[in-house]
Amino acid sequence: MASLAYVMLTAILRDAGDPIVSTLASVLFLMGIASAIGFWALGVPVTMLAAEEAARTAIVPQYYERHQVAAESLLEIYIFLGLLGTAGFGWALLQTGLLLSWVGWITLAWGLFFAGMSLKMAGTRAVRATPNAIPLLPMVMQLTIGISLLVK
């Protein structure tokens, strides 16, 4: 549903005069969503298999570590691309003047700041031990944009 909403937002921003940045932001977000789907598809079933095997043998299977690293990398890619997309939408909002400028500035700052943070923390233990492991950050600003569109 988020991907549909972003395509709709892109259509509005294109009509408002931004044909490039909003499209690129939307593509980044869709690529990020594909990565998130990959995380769930790769991470959850393998974890369940590893849990069953660990219960039987009392040893964590060797493949589990490698699969988890790959799955968590996909999640980090989703967070990074989603935040870059968020920044792109912020830029497009500023360019078009579709919403109040503070919405665009906050969206742009939110995306750039947390994209930088996620890049800095990528692959470290810290990113997995904090709530960043739950991919909330890329989708926070869409609530603000959605409410702003409704009250416009």
């Binding site: 549903m1 988020a2 549909l4 909403a5 709709m8 937002l9 259509a11 509005i12 974890t47 369940m48 590893a50 849990a51 069953e52 095997e53 660990a54 219960a55 964590v60 299977p61 589990y64 570590e65 988890q68 031990a129 492991a133 739950i134 909330l136 989708m139 926070v140 869409q142 609530l143 944009i145 959605g146 409410i147 702003s148 569109l149 409704l150 416009k152």
Partner: protein, 48 residues
């Protein structure tokens, strides 16, 4: 309904569904605990 209104509703609904789903998962017993475990410990806790 205009495209702007529909987009606003779609953005809000998708956020609420996504975050609501995560809140539901967090509300379930042991989910938060499992997230904070090391990779070596996770399978044993899930198996229980």
């Amino acid at each position: 309904m205009s495209l702007t209104t529909a987009t606003g509703i779609a953005l809000i609904l998708s956020t609420l569904i996504y975050h609501g789903g995560l809140a539901f998962l967090y509300g379930r017993a042991h989910f938060g605990e499992v997230l904070n475990l090391s990779r070596g410990e996770k399978p044993f806790t899930i198996a229980k």
